[in-house]
């Protein structure tokens, strides 16, 4: 057990996919840490590498074509990337659990939901069959499924999408994991159900003090629930910050663009802001800062076009409050160092 309260610490993670068209660097030099009991949000557009990052934590990146090229993933002071297959299986589902994006296909159609929960409980907690069924019903009750004793015997196709996502959550939390990875848990659901599911996650987190790694492209969700946020763009983290400062004072032009394109209450202006251009493909990343072709500040700057900025703590002498904020942009105040290349 580490004393600093850090549960998951990712250092310099690089994941590449070796395809026939070339090497796609899906995740490059990603580092962040998740504290015990906190909700950490990983935000970004689709294809920016946030799901791959999450899958890497579970060691679920399909190999081949994917490969974790470099980095460390320390969970409770053990590097998950060095564990044997058997040891990682004991972690999966037991200490780290994952909820997937698509509840309609995440449950096995040939078993009742009860059977699926029971298998996990029996595997990790070494419970007797009857006791495991009680736990399954208890879990379904916990995630707000009415009449759980009856419902354990139902098949996934008899349930709605929101219901199935609740079952997925029940299955994920059935072994009381310390870390729950939620990979866009609400994307496939109705807006009303989305709020319910997120409230449920909050409530479960309060009860058990588990950490949640929330992966989403929805900044609205982040503002309400996360303590810390990492914004990813084209395989890198471009801004890492606590939630409040990020929303109050976004430093990276990409984050600024994202926040500007959120509709706000009472917003009666003309058109909603959109970031011009499209997300670059992993096989054809631009040179320099990957955001520069779309950037309102740096698109004509020589340095942005040639030298990629690294994620850095800001050095503007404003004290401890800024020390946790990291950004990767040449134009961020206090970013530049004396030994940086000048162009």
């Amino acid at each position: 057990m580490s004393d600093n309260g850090i549960l998951l610490d990712i250092k310099g993670l690089c994941v590449s996919f070796f395809t026939e068209d070339g090497v796609a660097r899906a995740v490059q030099d990603v580092s962040f840490s998740v504290k015990k009991g906190e909700t950490f949000a990983l935000v970004g557009e689709s294809g920016c590498g946030k799901s791959v990052t999450a899958l890497s934590v579970m060691r679920l990146v399909a190999d081949p074509p994917g490969k974790i090229v470099a980095g460390e993933i320390n969970f409770d002071d053990r590097n998950l990337l060095e564990l044997s297959d058997q040891r990682i299986r004991a972690v999966r589902g037991n200490r780290i659990a994952m909820i997937f994006q698509e509840p309609m296909t995440s449950l096995n159609p040939v078993y009742t939901v009860g059977e699926q929960i029971v298998e996990v409980v029996r595997l990790h907690q070494k419970k007797e069959e009857a006791e495991a069924w009680d736990i399954a019903a208890e879990m379904l009750r916990k995630v707000g499924i009415p009449d759980p004793v009856q419902r354990v015997n139902e098949y996934p196709h008899q349930m709605s999408g929101g219901m199935r996502q609740r079952v997925m959550i029940a299955m994920a939390i059935s072994c009381k994991p310390e870390l729950l990875i939620a990979d866009e848990p609400t994307t496939a659901l109705d807006v009303t159900i989305q709020a319910q599911i997120l409230d449920l996650l909050d409530q479960l987190q309060e009860q058990s003090r588990m950490s949640i790694l929330l992966i989403t492209h929805n900044l609205g969700i982040v503002a309400e629930r996360a303590e810390n946020v990492a914004v990813m763009y084209a395989s890198r983290i471009v801004e890492l910050s606590d939630c409040k400062s990020l929303f109050d004072n976004p430093l990276h032009p990409y984050t600024q663009g994202l926040l500007q394109s959120l509709p706000r209450l009472g917003f009666t202006g003309k058109r909603l802001y959109t970031i011009p251009g499209i997300v670059p493909e992993p096989l054809r990343f631009p040179a320099g800062c990957k955001f520069h072709p779309r950037c309102p500040i740096g698109c004509n700057d020589k340095r942005c076009q040639t030298v990629e900025p690294q994620l850095r703590r800001l050095d503007n002498g404003r004290g401890a409050c800024q020390s946790d904020r990291q950004v990767a942009c040449w134009f961020a105040p206090g970013y530049e160092r004396p030994d940086d290349p000048k162009i």
């Binding site: 081949p64 997937f100 449950l107």
Partner: protein, 399 residues
């Protein structure tokens, strides 16, 4: 049971959905009935066609020759059939009144008990039932008036009995489907031959499916180099003309039924392996398999508990075609003289006698076993076809 007032409603399982879809086709149901009838025929063959009477009175004493003449394996088949039937009824009952949470456990226990009963029963039967050769000619005893009150089977001839007085007779009142070159009754031999043909189909396909599933599952799940090398091996196996391979192998090994089953099974698994591999390839990327991995389930459970039931459909369908194919191969082998040794009857063997040594074409020896093979193969193919439609997920989603 705690709560009896409330009638519990359980979800329709995958199997029930498939059955519902399958049963929509009355036509195929008839053919399924035909297959079941064939099985009854094979199981109870000694009671349908036998030269010994069920009961006979000789010198004022009742004798039960048929039951004494039955071998231990005959009784073994009856026992297995009865236990299988009871097990089937139990499965139906389980679905109605056993809570799904313990159903798997209950079913497992029942099957264990059933298998145990059958195994122990067969061992005991082989120990306690001696092999008796009863060469008594009960028919002549009845004809000469020495015995009375005889009750014969519907086809009162034995499959091993030869009677050179009535050889090569076309169908007539005594021999409904005629006699063969040594004077055995064709109908009797057809009935007993169904045992061989049906068991060849089942055992051979059982062997090939199991091999195919295991190889396909491993290749499909692992992918990469394993898959590449494995598939080349499968392709080599496919390139070998199976029938000639079987003929070659049969020439080297003793002509026994078991060898034929084994060889057919060991050479026809390639299709199953390819189907299962393709399904596993598709399933591996499915969310619920990813979810199963992310929950830390062991590989064995992921492969055989979570992926296989979703990939079994094409194997099941292929099995029905495979049974038809195996019956066909056995018939062809017997026709060429590589099949089971006489006097054990099989359909292909009867067929092969169609051209007699005297050069006459004995049509009844060709037509009737030919029809038997034709209708059996047709029935299996039709059932397989309907099963495929019933299982097809695209159809199921629209329901």
């Amino acid at each position: 049971m705690g709560d009896n007032k409330q009638q519990k409603t359980w979800g329709t399982s995958y199997g029930e959905m498939v059955w519902k879809e399958f049963a929509k086709s009355r036509f195929t149901l008839c053919w399924l009935g035909f297959i079941i009838l064939l099985f009854m025929l094979a199981i109870f063959a000694p009671f349908l066609a036998n030269d010994k009477p069920f009961v006979i009175r000789i010198a004022g004493q009742l004798h039960w020759p048929i039951f004494k003449a039955l071998t231990a394996s005959d009784y073994g088949i009856f026992l297995a059939a009865i236990v299988a039937f009871i097990q089937f009824l139990l499965v139906l009952r389980n679905r109605r009144c056993v809570d799904p949470s313990i159903r798997a456990g209950v079913l497992w226990r029942q099957i264990t008990i059933s298998v145990f009963i059958v195994l122990v029963g067969i061992i005991l039967l082989f120990i306690f039932i001696p092999r008796r050769l009863d060469a008594t000619d009960y028919k002549s005893m009845v004809a000469s008036g020495k015995a009375t009150g005889a009750v014969f089977a519907p086809v009162p001839y034995g499959f091993g009995r030869t009677d050179l007085k009535v050889r090569e007779q076309p169908p007539n009142r005594q021999h409904w489907l005629g006699t063969d070159d040594v004077g055995s009754d064709v109908l009797c031999r057809l009935i007993h031959g169904s045992r061989i043909s049906l068991s060849v189909g089942f055992v051979a396909v059982g062997i090939s499916s199991i091999i195919g599933i295991i190889i396909g599952a491993i290749l499909g799940y692992s992918g990469g180099k394993t898959d590449f090398i494995g598939m080349r091996f499968v392709e080599i196996m496919m390139a070998v003309p199976v029938f000639f391979l079987i003929i070659t192998i049969v020439a080297f090994f003793p002509r026994s039924l078991f060898n034929i089953m084994l060889i057919i099974g060991l050479t026809t698994w390639t299709d199953d392996a390819r189907f299962v591999r393709a399904e596993f390839f598709k399933l591996r990327r499915q969310d619920f398999v990813q979810a199963a991995v992310s929950l830390g389930l062991p590989l064995r459970s992921i492969l055989f508990r979570h992926m296989l039931p979703n990939a079994i459909a094409p194997v099941l369908v292929n099995a029905t075609f495979g049974i038809a194919g195996a019956i066909f191969i056995e018939a062809a082998l017997s026709f060429l003289g590589f099949g089971v040794a006489p006097p054990t009857p099989s359909w292909g063997q009867i067929l092969s006698l169609g051209v007699s040594t005297t050069g006459r074409f004995l049509w009844w020896l060709t037509l009737f076993p030919g029809l038997a093979i034709f209708f059996t193969v047709l029935a299996y193919n039709l059932v397989g076809e309907t099963l495929r439609d019933a299982i097809d997920p695209r159809l199921r989603e629209s329901v």
